[in-house]
Symmetry: C2
Amino acid sequence: MSLPHALLTSLLEKPTSGSELARRFDKSIGYFWQATHQQIYRELARLEEAGLVSSTAEEGARGRKRNYKVLTAGKAELKRWMSQPSEHRNLRDEMMVRVRAAAIIGPHGLQEDIRIRLEHHQAQLALYREIEKHDFKDKPKDPKLGLQHLLLNAGIEYEQMYIDFCHKVLKQIESACDTRGKPRLKRA
Amino acid sequence: MSLPHALLTSLLEKPTSGSELARRFDKSIGYFWQATHQQIYRELARLEEAGLVSSTAEEGARGRKRNYKVLTAGKAELKRWMSQPSEHRNLRDEMMVRVRAAAIIGPHGLQEDIRIRLEHHQAQLALYREIEKHDFKDKPKDPKLGLQHLLLNAGIEYEQMYIDFCHKVLKQIESACDTRGKPRLKRA
DNA sequence: TTTGACATGTAACCCGTTACATGATTTT
DNA sequence: AAAATCATGTAACGGGTTACATGTCAAA
């Protein structure tokens, strides 16, 4: 249940509207926690209902921009949440399942899929590096930015790892095909 | 939608019952795709309904062990799925959200949380290494195991990366406290 | 034969997703 | 003023999770 707290964090940094939050979620926090605008609106309504945030707009002002800001209770809730043990989420990656399947029944076109993923992760890596250059390289050691820089670096390392993994799998599939002339298929 | 295909893969490797699959999912495939026994039973029922697997048990034999095996159509479906582009899942990690929050309102007990996570990931890493020693070290280069070894290594590298990240964050928080005597808090 | 563990199943809930609708605002 | 766009919202669905229920089998 991180979404409300991600929103609180984002609103604490700078009060804004739901649509703006949705856009901001494509960056920064969005690298580790994504949300569609429907989720965000739903959650903002709940947060307001719970008295954790307030918005500048009368009831039922559909279509008009609402500006949200965090109330004291909201900040308190965020602190409370921070001091609780976080829920652990395991890795969950469809491609890994496919690699496992390929180990059983052969590649069956997995290479193409991996190449697509490779492109995506390479693009993501390039984006992160661009952000790093733009946001962190000039300010040598602002301690306020330290944690955010660590987050960005975690993203960078993750992408590098993923890219590396893709290359290894491609190489492995290729070499297995070379040795045996053909991907291993147990005939049904 | 990987669960049915993960089940097909697992059943192709060795036909078994739902409960056994649930147990096996705690290992191997389970490192990258988890499922509770309810999900597994639900999905097995669907797969049988769709004619992709068959089970040894008359209708409505509740409580009695059912042995599932993959039918030809099931294997075909798995191959079809493998040649389709896979869905991309972004990272989604609650701890990262907390680190981001800590960058805004200060640590607030985050360190303790990180230490718990550290222990977990260290234990996971140790487990993976144990598996590697047990399953892969003696068989130097069985090409059939190549992909599975790569998967295991991906898990190992991921855990190492996560552990490393935790250490960095702890260090950063600590040093920030040293410099300023106290974690930076904007008073409400 | 009763107890307890095991195997399967039912039900309800919440989050995340998708499709779409409606009110406001800006552009032409 | 009509059209396009923006901001917010409603509704429905599916996967994943949790709690619990029921039937089977083996051990005491």
